[in-house]
Each structure stands twice: as C-alpha cells, then as structure tokens.
C-alpha cells in the first residue's frame, strides 16, 4: 500500500511541474503583507503536496492499526524527519489513540499537525537585534548551504526596514566569494568591507566591526567561508573569528545563524551539533525550501537539539527570506 502511494505520487510529477511554473510567475507581483503568507504557501507547495498529501491519502477512510502507523513512519522518514524524531512522534500519536480509543484514520492527521506545531512552537523565536549600535549577525554553515545568498536577502530586508547595514566579506577562501557578496551589496545598496582573497578572515571581521561602529551602522552581517563541520582546523578558525568579533564589539553577537540546506538529510544534526561547539549558535536559517525537499529535518533539529529555526528561504528572489513561524509553517503545510 505504502509502495503504491509512492509510485502514484511519482506519476503526478509532470502535472506538478506545470502547476509550479504558474505559481512562480505569480511571485513576480509586488509584495504586500498578505502576500507573504501566500508566498510561504507557494514555496511550500512541494512539501505540502508530497508530505501532507501522502498523509491525507494514507488516513482517508482507514481504521487506525499497526499497518497505518508503519506507513506513517515511512512517510515521516521520507520527509527527512529522521528515525528518533519519527519514533517520538508516532509514540505520542499511539498514546493519544489509546487514550481516546478513536479508530478513525482521519483523526491521526489532526493530531499529527498538533504535534508538529507543538514541537516547532516550543523553539519558536524570531530574529532579535538589539538597538545598541551596531548590532551584529554572523552567518555560518557548510559549503553550498546558501550563506551568501541568505546574507544578500537579509541585508535587503533589514535595509528595507530602515536599518543601515554593513556586510563583512569573511569568506576569503572560496574563489570569487568576495565578488559574489559584493554583487549582493551593490544590488541591495549597502556598504561592504572586504579584503583580498586569501586574507585572514579574523582581520576582515575586526575591520567590519570597527567600520560598522565608525559609520554608525545599525547592524553588520558577517559572512564566513563554508566549511564541513568535521574539519577541526577550520572550525577552530571560525571560533577565532567569533572571538575577535565579540572582543571588538565588547559583547556577544545578536545572532549567530547556521544556514542549513533543506535538502540536507540527517547530516544537518551533525552540522548543528559540531558548529555549536565552535560558536554559540542562536538559530537556524533553512534555505531552498522551494524544491521538493520536505524540510522534515527541522523537526529533528527542534526535537534533538532545541535549536530554533529563525528564517526560511522559500524562493530565488531576494524577498523570499521570511521569519519562521511554527504555526504558519504547519498551517501552510496542512492548508
């Protein structure tokens, strides 16, 4: 039964693709406040169709039994929720079933949504920046997670809100990373502090803080080179950059954000764990949620590490970075 679900879902992809294009075209509209929810929904369409669609298909007209739970586990694991978190969720559902003595499959869907909201809401926090000038944000993550793009989008958003933003090109390692951030700075119209490629990232960090203060900026955002969390030397370097920043700033940073690609599987847990050993992470930015990846890894991150997801990237344009709202997220997931 679960197998057939997978296959029937796959056959649908072609029409899904068409749907998706229409939606993408709509995105070009100017953003209004009410548009945000719609866009979150658009970005999450794939998740909704894949994940929730399967749950719906699963429970419709079914009685609750072991087989149903097994298939539910299957769906959760396929959404990258991971084994421990899946077990926790199904355990709680089983408990509710035995308490209520309900046998209606549909009830499972309602409860599952509640459990997901509860799990995500427990860690729900948004971006917090102090009024003290300058506020500081540091962005870290593995290679190719989308750090630089996230910084571009974040700079756009903050400067739209009237903040004077300064970017620090702390990725001095990857070829043309500095140029990439510079393009974003130009697009958004904010200043950037950059040294030459191959220079000391800690020096860039130092200069960024000093310049942010001298230029009376509201906030600086420091980029860092992508690094795999197992490279101890590179993680130590990151720790050093962080130390230099807080020493120069005279206080803790307002945000140290870990950027995680939504297509990432269980390795995201290792990323969050090991990065937090080098720098005090304040939250997660989940990027590329507009693909077919289910992003279920945020459930695992919330359950196992209690790290809040603060921002999500749901599209390619620079207005597509949004506050993560557990309720809204679950709502969109189940809409």
């Amino acid at each position: 039964m679960g197998w057939k679900n997978i296959f029937s879902h796959r056959e649908k992809t072609e029409t899904d693709v068409e749907l998706q294009t229409e939606e993408i075209e709509e995105i070009a509209e100017p953003i209004s406040k009410s548009g945000l929810f719609a866009r979150l929904k658009q970005g999450l369409t794939k998740t909704r169709e894949g994940f929730v669609g399967k749950v719906e298909q699963l429970v419709r007209g079914r009685k609750i039994d072991d087989e149903l739970f097994e298939e539910l586990e299957e769906i959760l694991i396929q959404a990258d929720v991971g084994v421990p978190t899946t077990m926790m969720l199904t355990e709680r559902l089983r408990l509710r079933v035995s308490e209520s003595k309900s046998t209606e499959g549909n009830q499972i869907q309602v409860w599952l949504k509640e459990e997901i909201v509860q799990l995500l809401q427990a860690n729900n926090e948004t971006l917090v920046l102090s009024d003290q000038k300058p506020a500081g944000i540091m962005v870290v993550g593995v290679n190719g997670a989308g750090k630089t793009t996230t910084i571009g989008k974040l700079a756009h958003r903050l400067s739209n809100e009237g903040a004077k933003v300064l970017l620090g090109a702390g990725d001095t390692f990857r070829a043309a990373a500095i140029e990439q951030l510079r393009v974003w700075a130009d697009r958004v119209g904010v200043d950037i502090i950059a040294h030459n490629s191959g220079s000391d990232p800690a020096a860039v960090a130092f200069d960024t803080v000093a310049a942010a203060r001298a230029r009376d900026c509201n906030v600086f955002i420091l980029d860092t080179a992508g690094r795999l969390q197992t490279k101890t030397n590179l993680m130590a370097e990151l720790g050093k950059v962080h130390r230099v920043v807080i020493r120069e700033l005279g206080r803790e940073l307002d945000e140290v954000l870990l950027v995680v690609d939504a297509t990432t599987g269980q390795n995201a847990l290792s990323q969050a764990k090991l990065f937090s050993e080098s720098v005090p992470l304040t939250g997660i930015v989940l990027t590329k949620l507009d693909g077919t990846a289910k992003g279920g890894i945020i459930l695992a991150l919330a359950h196992e590490l209690k790290l809040p997801v603060k921002l999500i990237g749901v599209g390619e344009t620079y207005t597509d970075l949004q506050d993560f709202d557990a309720k809204e997220f679950a709502q969109a997931l189940f809409a």
């Binding site: 990439q180 030397n233 993680m235 990432t264």
Partner: protein, 446 residues
C-alpha cells in the same frame, strides 16, 4: 544519537543470540533491524532500504555460519556484498568520445558544488594527458563566472566565458572555440537549478541539443537526504544522465544518497569529491562506499594509499636492514616521512574500520603538530645519536630539547616510545620475517 559503527553494533546485538550452525530467521531479523536503522540514518532512501533488507533477509536465512565467522560477521558480509552489488558492482568511468572533443555537461541543484567540481574534473583529466576547456555557463549566480576563472587560473586550465550571455549561445560558441583551440574535453559548468524549474530545465535541454554532450553528470551533495532520489530521477527523465558525482564526502555524511540514486535510477556514481583542494576528486569505488555507509571504514583505500605512497625498494631495504642492525632513529625518521606522504592523518584514521565513526574520534583531529615535534627532535640529533640512541645522556638531551624548541620531557618521551617500538619491531622481525610491510607501519602507531 549517532549510530556509530554498525559492525560493532551488530556484534553487540548478535552476541545475545546463541545460534550455531545456521542463521535462523530470528537471528537475521534482529540483525536487520540494526541494518535498517543504519541505512536510514545514512539517508538511504526509504524504499531502497525496504527492498534491500528483504533481499538480504532471503539470502541470509538458512545460510551456513562459516566456522571462521560469527553469525554477526556473516550477516555483515552478506550486507556488504549486497550493498556493493546494489551500488554498481564495479566502477564506471567517463566515456571519452572517439572523435574529440568530448563534451561533459555538469548539472545539479544550487550549492551542490558544480563549479568547484568542474575545476577538479578538469584538473584530473589534464593530469591524464587531456587538454580540457572549462566553460562558464552559469550566468545567474553572482560571481559564478569569476569563480570559475579564478579556479582555472589556479589549476592552469583555460576558461571560456562570454559574460552573462545566453547560456545556450555560450555553450555553442565554446564548442567552436574548443574545436579551433585543440581542446579534447569541454566541461560545461551550468547554473544550479531546481529540477522542478521548467524554464531553467528547458535551458539545459537546449544546451544539450546544441552541444550533444557525451556525458551529462549530476553533481550531488553527499549530505542530501531522502530527496536525492527525486532530484536524480527528475534530472534523468528530463536530460538523460550518464552519471553522478558525489561531493563533500570529506565530512561525516554517510552518503546514502549515492546508494539511493544508483539503485532507483540506475545512474552510476563516477567520481567522489573528498577535499576542498583542487586535487580532491577520486574515482568512485562502490565497495568502499558500501563500507562507509555502514560505518565499517575503508580499509581498502587505506591499504592502497599506503601502497602508493611507500617506496617499495625503500621498504625492502628497511626490512633487510632491520634484520641486520635493528631499528634506529634514522629509520624512524624515514618512516615518518613516508607516513606524511599518505596525506592528512585524520583522513587516514577515518578510513580505518571502526575509527571513522567512533564517538570519541568525532571532531578529534590527529595531531599533526605532534608529528612535527617528533621530527624536530630527531633532526636536532647528531647522526651518531640517531644511530645509537643509547648514548643520549642528560646533557645531550638538554641540547636536543633546546635545539628542537621542545622540553627535555618531550625528548625523554620520544626516546622511551622509540625504545618500546624497537622492542616491538624486534619481536616482529623475529617472529615473522616475511611480515607484510603494512604491518610494520601500523605497529609504529599503536
């Protein structure tokens, strides 16, 4: 929460069972539950796991437990064989056109590592005597063209670019350019895109139509989760893939994506990227990947690395000398040099069975500076001292410590360790005069 080493977990589980002779269904079920978890934890696609577990089960039940193996080892062996078979059995290489130039098109999601991998592939092909041309066809991501140009300069490979022109036109023009400049391989670095982005997928189809690539390679991040299958399938349906390259394998990702892609779509993994450096691209070995996914280390790679780095003649010389004169600090120094040639020590440790995923070892890097200190100490000795360490008394120790910038304690420790090693070597050479050269090496590091 880490599942660590599957092999040891299996041993642990199976220890509780007392089955002898044949594997019973119960034995196998118990073992396979662990296998299932390990595979899911490694991000192998759910469907693949289910299939796989069933296959192994039917093969393992009733299987004779060989005298030399425990039931657990027996199951591991079957699992390992089946995994390797599932991943393609043997390695498949890039097909070069009989009439050059060979066109290779790199495609994938954003951030998978296409640009870096294009550079690495060009470098690899260049080292095999080809004349590759890199083509900057990613006109969307800011500074992607610049990135490829910088890479090209680093590795001394020409890069063709036309700014932010139409990628189809760029590809077509680059092909002509390559033809007239005698390039026999043309590598197209395309922009990252979602497989559901129809417009951008059409662009790839057009590039394919215009350049008739011999190889369309999907670049996949080893950390990808369950979605890897959807991505590969969709790219394959729309473009017809010839292979995949798995990137960022130098992290702790198990790379279950590789297994899933191969088994669901049939697309072979051709290369794996294992370092940030430009020479960090290797041919894919399915059997080794199987061991990695299961957390069983990669002994084969290690042995091969050792073989490639060790000078056979020197090893023979050393072995002869050892039997004649015993082991001296000079030999020790030479061995250190050899070991250093094998690559970063932490990489080597990761390849040893059980080591890569041990909790205690996660994040612990083998201290290379410790090796440097040892070298410094030995270099501060006179030739006489190296050959006859027993003459190194108090004042010599002080001098050596000063000369190497270490403390007398460090010198003492080294001499003590050396003495122990020498004792061990003596045993080795006397017990097994024809012991494999690898053995000696490892004994040094125990």
């Amino acid at each position: 929460m880490s599942f660590g080493n599957l092999a040891s977990r299996l041993q642990e589980t199976m220890k509780k069972l007392k089955s002898r002779g044949k594997l019973t269904e119960k034995d196998v079920d118990v073992a396979l539950r662990e296998v299932r978890l390990a595979l899911l934890e490694a991000d192998v696609h759910y469907k693949v796991v289910k299939d796989f577990v069933n296959t192994v089960k039917s093969r393992a039940i009733g299987h004779e437990v060989l005298n030399s193996l425990s039931p657990a080892q027996q199951v591991i062996k079957i699992v390992d064989q089946e995994l390797a078979a599932l991943m393609g059995g043997t390695q498949s290489k890039i097909a070069l056109a009989s009439k050059p130039p060979t066109v290779i098109m790199m495609v994938g999601l954003q951030g998978a590592g296409k640009t870096t991998t294009s550079g690495k592939l060009a470098r690899l092909l260049h080292s095999q005597g080809h004349r590759p041309l890199l083509v900057a066809a990613d006109v969307y991501r800011p500074a992607a063209i610049k990135q490829l140009m910088v890479l090209g300069e680093q590795i001394n490979i020409p890069v063709f670019e036309m700014g932010e022109d139409d990628p189809v036109v760029i590809a077509k023009t680059a092909f002509q350019h390559g033809m007239s400049h005698g390039n026999d391989v043309i590598i197209l670095d395309t922009a990252g895109r979602l497989h559901i982005d129809t417009e951008l997928m059409d662009e790839l189809k057009n590039i394919r139509k215009e350049t008739q690539p011999h190889e369309i390679l999907l670049v996949v991040d080893a950390m990808t989760g369950q979605d890897a299958v959807n991505v590969a399938q969709s790219f394959n349906e729309q473009l017809g893939l010839d292979g995949a390259i798995l990137t960022k394998l130098d992290g702790d990702a198990r790379g279950g994506a590789a297994l899933s892609i191969k088994s669901v779509t049939g697309i072979p993994i051709k290369y794996v990227a294992i370092s940030e450096k430009m020479d960090g691209l290797e041919v894919f070995h399915p059997d080794r990947m199987a061991s990695r996914i299961l957390g069983m280390g990669d002994m084969l790679s290690l042995i091969e690395k050792a073989e490639a780095s060790f000078d056979q003649n020197k090893a023979k010389e050393l072995s002869d000398k050892l039997q004649k004169d015993g082991f001296t600090l000079e030999d020790f120094q030479e061995q250190l040099e050899q070991v250093k040639k094998m690559g970063p020590l932490n990489q080597l440790v990761g390849m040893m069975p059980g080591m890569g995923n041990l909790k205690q070892l996660q994040g612990m890097e083998v201290d290379e500076s410790h090796l440097k200190r040892i070298e410094a100490i030995i270099r501060s000795m006179t030739v006489e001292e190296r050959r006859h360490p027993e003459i190194i008394a108090g004042s010599r120790r002080k001098r050596i410590a000063r000369g190497s910038g270490t403390r007398v304690q460090d010198v003492n420790r080294l001499l003590k360790q050396f003495e122990q090693t020498r004792q061990m070597m003596k045993q080795f050479t006397s017990i097994d005069k024809k012991s494999k050269k690898g053995k000696k090496l490892f004994s040094l590091f125990q």
